[in-house]
Amino acid sequence: MNTNATPTKKIDTKTLLSTLWIVVMINMLKADILSLFIPGALDEVAKTSVSTGTPIPQLMLGGAIMMEISIVMIVLSRVLKYKVNRWTNIITSIITIVFVVGGGVSYPHYIFIATVEVICLLSIIWFAWKWRNLEGQP
């Protein structure tokens, strides 16, 4: 037996959740950027603006606020205390899934990226749900 082997330390749940949120966020950014390369994507936004009666800058503010919920989870997953950490992760994941699926467009890249995002978000819910506070951390 190789006793010099580095002991395999299980990943800290806080680190895992924070990292999964980073994956979700980078996916969201990539989806937005790819959409910009598709001719007509801007007209799509203009149509949404007309049908909802909201000027485009306000729509972008709405997008920024929704996105901020997920961005802040990168830090909050690492710093919040066990109990509130679990619940915040579960609730914000559900909100984000609704946002990703509800704001869905039919571009193939969006469907692909949204699927990956939903899998990550379901993993977040799963890990937060079955997270047991073995070390009695605050």
């Binding site: 937005d32 910009l36 972008m60 503010l61 901020e68 961005i71 802040v72 830090v75």
Partner: protein, 132 residues
């Protein structure tokens, strides 16, 4: 005393920088969706006498400061780590407001970024090297 594991300051700083950078990317992308944002950029180019590719180079260099901090916060030694975080934190705040656009999403995201950067400066400032 209960063994309360506090988050390592290096990890905290690095994570806050990730948050700042993702905010910056999101802000840039949302601006692109607003009609007229390209003309805005052309006006800045004309008024400063700097061509658009040069402006993009400045943006890339400024962005790189924040991006590098994600790694540097984790690897630099205590003394220099603190100072680099404080200096780059302040420079980035100046850059965000110096290049501010009046779009509502920009103001919102810039405010969040500034809060994160002030936290970075604060945590770096109050960081004491208890473990030597």
């Amino acid at each position: 005393m209960k063994s309360i594991k506090k988050i390592d300051t290096k990890v905290l700083l690095s994570t806050l920088w990730i948050m700042v950078m993702i905010n910056m990317l999101k802000e840039g992308i949302l601006s692109l969706y607003i009609p007229g944002s390209a003309e805005e950029l052309a006006r800045t180019s004309a008024s400063t006498g700097t061509s658009i590719p040069q402006l993009m180079l400045i943006g890339a260099i400024m962005g790189q400061l924040g991006i590098a901090m994600i790694i540097l916060s984790r690897v630099l030694k205590y003394g220099i780590n603190r100072w680099v975080n404080i200096v780059v934190g302040i420079v980035t705040i100046a850059y965000i407001w110096g290049g501010a656009a009046s779009y509502p999403h920009y103001i919102f995201i810039a405010t969040v970024e500034t809060l994160c950067l002030l936290l970075i400066v604060w945590f770096a400032w109050t960081w004491r090297n208890v473990e030597g």
